[in-house]
Amino acid sequence: MTTVEKQLKAAPRRYGYILTITAITLFLLYWSSSAIDFSKVDEKGIAIAEGIIKGLLQPDLSLFNLTKQSVPYLLVETLAIAFLGTIVGAILSIPFAFLAASNIVPKPVAWLTRLLLIIIRTIPALVYGLMFIRVTGPGPFAGVLTVGITSIGMLSKLYVDAIEELDTKVLESMTSIGCSTFEKIRYGIVPQLLSIFMSVTIYRFDMNMRDAATLGLVGAGGIGAPLMFAMRSYRWNQVGSILIGLVILILIIELFSNWLRAKLVKG
């Protein structure tokens, strides 16, 4: 027997463990397969699918003008919701992040803030959207608030990671050469955190674009509502032009955000 074979034989065998996991997984898959149901697909559904594809191939170009109902206007509105929402979220996340960082505040405080953040993160964006509509009335303003609050969950979590990885040696050496607290924050902490914070925020902006596009479905401004109306009334050419506009805008934002973040990483 060669050494290789000996090593191979010596590897621990956990057939029982693997079998149990496999059995549980298979059972769960079997259980959940009842969600698949083709019985409701009839000629109507196929006709609609055809309609959508035709609409995508022949978009209604009359929507690409410059009125308040046009696709470009709605896209800019969606972009504005995502942008302002990201800024609101980023500003609100900073205090949360410092309160959740276990190297800044006592453990119980950090733990409680984290629990709060988990709850904020789990509530779906649409629920906030529906709640804020009660506060501000339907319109893009509700969208901004929704995007802002949904950003807090993810942004603070990633900010916390950056804060907890702060290099404290820099601060120690600054203390030893006699820097004041303000100088320590300005030259010791801000440079370490700023680029990570910005990179994370840009990434979240990219995600918020998609959220902002769907918030319109509940009436919180942006391009979602016209899309829903166009679909409900079977105007596939308009659906096509809205979808094409949306996909192009999201792709541009994604490329732009990747480029910016790559630049930030390189310095």
């Binding site: 698949i36 959508i52 942008f83 964006a125 649409l126 009660r134 479905l217």
Partner: protein, 271 residues
């Protein structure tokens, strides 16, 4: 360009050397962000006045949600299970479909550039589609119910896992693959023994991670009629039955938390 407009600062060191310090771009970036924020402010009719006078309404709604309406749970149960079923089977099929898509879009495995770019474009087009929009379209094609939600989740998982997987395949160490080809294995055999072992743990871990996120997404898909608790949330908020909404949210938070813990446990084991 920026350096030409604002020439870099010159320092003359004691030994006569001239050092250039580039001007900071922070003021320029801040200016752009502020201008964009003001434009967005106009566009979205943002108003601090409304915010300060009406924000207590928001906390009032939250206050009404506590304590949650416990009696609502029996009605909630089925929808919650539907949500879980949708995300589980949707993620599973999506992750399986992601395999061929990812292989076909990896430039180091497939030699034809057209095939690679076509599949990459397909993946990114699917990815840009917001899940709720694809669920809306799916409800028109597959009828109302969990099937539409499953399709939407499947598409999202396919694009997300597919993208991460092809990036992983493109970054594997091709030495082992070449060595196996050189000793006479077919391309498929070398792929099986050289590439798959390198990308498998990452693939499984990303699929699990995607499943975690999908549970959250699946919760809202009901809003457009794609099954799950979304419909109940919409009804509850529409009828201003906030304690029931509180119950739904509590159930969701607990479910998501449990699933996250379990999935995190397995993801840690995988890597």
């Amino acid at each position: 360009m920026y350096d030409k407009l604002f020439p870099p600062k010159k320092f003359v060191l004691p030994n006569g050397k001239v050092v250039l310090q580039k001007r900071s771009r922070v003021p320029f970036i801040t200016l752009i962000v502020i201008i964009a924020a003001v434009i967005s402010y106009r566009f979205t009719e943002f108003s601090f006045q409304v915010l300060f006078t009406r924000i207590n309404e928001f906390f009032k709604i939250i206050g009404d949600m506590i304590p949650p309406n416990w009696d609502y749970f029996p009605q909630l149960w089925k929808a919650l299970l539907d949500t879980l079923k949708m995300s589980l089977i949707g993620s599973f099929i999506g992750a399986i479909l992601a395999l061929p898509f990812a292989v076909l879009s990896s430039s180091n495995i497939i030699k034809s550039k057209t095939v690679v770019s076509v599949f990459k474009i397909i993946l990114s087009l699917i990815r840009t589609m917001p899940t709720l929009v694809s669920a809306l379209i799916a409800t028109f094609i597959f009828g109302l119910g969990p099937m539409a939600g499953t399709v939407a989740i499947m598409l999202f998982t396919l694009s997300y896992v597919g993208k991460l997987l092809y990036e992983a395949i493109e970054n594997v160490d091709m030495g082992a693959f070449e060595a196996m080809e050189s000793i006479g294995m077919t391309r498929i055999q070398s792929f099986r023994y050289a590439v798959i072992p390198q990308v498998l743990p990452g693939y499984l871990s990303q699929s699990l991670f995607c499943f975690e996120g999908n549970v959250r997404y699946a919760a809202i898909l009901g809003y457009v009629g794609a099954g799950g608790v979304g419909l109940l949330i919409n009804e509850g908020l529409g009828w201003r039955d906030y304690p029931s909404v509180g119950m739904i949210i509590l159930a969701l938070v607990v479910t998501v938390f449990i699933i996250e813990r379990v999935s995190e446990h397995f993801r840690k084991k995988l890597i």
